[in-house]
Amino acid sequence: MLKTEELQINIGPQHPSTHGVFRMLVTVDGETLVDLKPVFGYLHRNHEQLGEVNTYLQNMPFTDRLDYFNSMVNNHAYARTVETLAGVEVPERAQYIRVIMDELSRILNHATAMGFMLGDMGAWQTALLWGMREREKILDMFEYVSGARMMCNYCRFGGVVRDIDDWFITELKKLMQGLPHYFDDFEGLLLNSEILLARARNIGVLPKELALAYSVTGPVLRGSGVAYDIRKAEPYAVYDRFKFKVPVGTVGDVYDRFLVRIAEMRESYKILEQALEQLPDATGGFINPKVKQQSLKAPAGEAYARVESPKGELGFYVVSDGTGSAYRYKVRAPSFINLSALADMCKGYTIADVVVILGSIDIVMGEVDR
């Protein structure tokens, strides 16, 4: 047997496929991975400390910057936490609007995340740009309702900041006509490709028990075969009124996560259809007028509320001491917790697999480092 020397490589913080400033300290034997140590914190920007200094409303735009792909979902989760804490009622129309925005976010997130993963795998941008094309359309809708494409700052305590109008609904219906074609195209591009199967199947296997032990959530957990979706397990907003299924993988490999995400996009589409059908008219209002947004004071106590973000369970924990800003503010970021399983998922595979596995977890460094 040849004696070989192990080599330490820094993948990141400046690297094409670390999805931000993330570093993996990798020990390799040839191409095979012996050890992986994730290093992060490069993007740390005092988010949680700021949350304790800001007033409740001031903190809303800061939550946009967590998972900057899905600012709508972040807003929703944060608004829900403060609403729970302050006991604020939310009108039904606002709930539906939030659900529509959440599901649009899920589609755009999965479309780009899978594009990025295939890009990491070496499919030169086609899948990614097709996803980006759909994302652009959705971002245009976001811009119309909130004024910003990515940093939406759309939710308010007790509702949303602006109502959606007929133009939005007709445009959304137009957009949705194109979505099934995109899903079909995307599946047709690579789903059964021999090379994708070779690269994705039985790679980065995360067994069910390990996934639960790491408290991994979202598509990664569902890919490992656990049908846990907060929209079903603890229906928030109006999710109990929609019929949709939770896709579940069997092996827990990269391919399963890929399939789960594609299936989830289709389910999101179904939810969108139902939400548009059931959307109440504007008489109920889109925001609770009784809430003083600027000077909201929550009674002393604590609250934790969570939503099913496209990346997993996104929860905010807020402790109030009765003043206008939080006493303690903590974010349970799905990317961060899913990332903790990375080293166990990667061991024994090659460098080429590591970037694909990282892509299949779907992380956003803004959320990991906070």
Partner: protein
């Protein structure tokens, strides 16, 4: 060309010199301009596959984009890492480009042959093999771990792919009876210029195998492993910038171009096509050049399509693909090529056999009966081999079951 110059009254040494200079200039200019067009062609066509426009600002349809890129790279800072082996670091791109340019010496442009070597096929393969030296020099000389990994990968890949690539040419050499590219092109001129090898079962399989192996040789997706940008940044090119990087780039695209030219020559009849012989002379030569370029760029378009679609293989998967899939098929193809030659040409190739067994019923090369037997036999062998190896590699394509069970969703299952 030298003869023509001597007839014009130049001294013989001078005419040889002038002819060589003209040829060398044409090779260099042809290769580089071809490469420039190639980058534009690839970027533009890949853009349309991805729903975007691609370069369309500089010049008509963005055709001058490569020139602006060239100016950009030439004016960039040329950085060498402090701990790099300066000489090796400098020489690596030179070796790479030199190897590529060498192969252009024998590539026929339609029916115009710069140099007609009698072992041109061997020469092309040999120059292709030189690439691995350049890669290893770049990878080792850069003193960078990513570059080293890239260089190692490149060498491993080239070593595995040379073998199926070279052996995929053997059927062509057998069928022609010569290693000269000129002879190979001439041999494909039957049937009004459409007697291309790709239309025979042997040639078809050979074409597929050779082209696949050549993708690996030219580091194209799905075999762009030595420079896998998402894994090892730019592989052996990681520490190169400015003009040195551009030289690597140039050499890559020129070798891709060379691969397309060689494939078109070996299997797609080179410059042969309907009407070339009828026209004859300079017009025929130009037509053959047009045919040849069309075939080559069609081949390159296939490369672009592949690049725009499929992910890349892992390095171990690539090896097993080369050794377990391509190599057996290549060997079978050589077998059926031998049958083909034996059935069609045994009177020409092996006079001894004719002596022993007597001449075949008719010595005509286009004997339809013999041709039909040869086609059926080789088709059976090749199709059987492909079917068998597809089964043996045990692809097991059935999808994962993904249940979408609503009950499961009510909590942790």
């Amino acid at each position: 060309m030298a003869d023509a110059l001597t007839q014009l009254g130049f001294a013989s040494w001078l005419s040889v010199l002038i002819a060589s200079i003209i040829k060398v200039t044409l090779i260099l200019v042809g290769g580089s301009v071809g490469m420039m067009f190639l980058t534009w062609y690839e970027r533009r066509s890949i853009s349309y596959m991805q729903d975007r426009r691609g370069p369309n600002r500089v010049g008509p349809q963005g055709l001058l984009q490569p020139i602006s890129e060239a100016i950009k790279t030439m004016t960039k800072e040329d950085a060498t890492p402090r701990d790099a082996d300066k000489i090796v670091h400098f020489l690596a791109p030179v070796v790479m480009l030199g190897a590529t340019v060498l192969s252009f010496a024998v590539i026929p442009w339609g029916r115009m042959f710069p140099v007609d070597l009698n072992a041109a096929v061997l020469f092309v393969i040999a120059t292709g093999g030189l690439h691995s030296i350049g890669m290893m020099m770049a990878g080792w000389g850069s003193n960078n771990k990513f570059a080293l990994l890239g260089g190692m990968r490149g060498v491993a890949q080239l070593i595995s792919y040379e073998i199926p690539q070279v052996m995929a040419i053997i059927p062509v050499v057998l069928m022609t009876g010569s290693m000269s590219l000129q002879k190979i092109v001439e041999a494909q001129n039957d049937f009004a210029g459409l007697g291309w090898y790709v239309f025979s079962p042997v040639g078809l399989l050979g074409f597929a195998l050779f082209f696949t192996a050549s993708l690996a040789e030219g580091e194209r997706t799905p075999f762009d492993i030595p420079e896998a940008d998402s894994e090892i940044i730019a592989g052996y090119m990681t520490e190169y910038s400015g003009m040195k990087f551009a030289v690597f780039y140039l050499s890559n695209y020129m070798s891709n171009l060379a691969v397309c030219f060689i494939t078109a020559t070996l299997y797609l009849g080179g410059g042969n096509g309907p009407g070339v012989d009828a026209l004859g002379g300079i017009a025929g030569g130009l037509l053959s050049l047009i045919y040849f370029l069309l075939k080559s760029f069609a081949l390159f378009f296939v490369m672009v399509l592949i690049r725009a679609t499929v992910p890349r293989l892992r390095v171990d998967q690539l090896m097993s693909f080369a050794w377990k899939f391509l190599l057996p098929l290549v060997l079978v193809n050589i077998l059926s090529a031998s049958f083909w030659v034996a059935l069609l040409r045994w009177d020409q190739q092996w006079p001894k056999l004719t002596e022993w067994f007597g001449a075949p019923s008719t010595a005509d090369a286009t004997n339809w009966g013999r041709l039909a037997i040869a086609i059926v036999l080789t088709l059976l062998i090749n199709a059987g081999a492909v079917a068998l190896i597809m089964r043996l590699t045990n692809r097991n394509v059935q999808k994962h079951l993904y249940t979408t069970d609503e009950e499961l969703a009510l909590g942790l299952s």
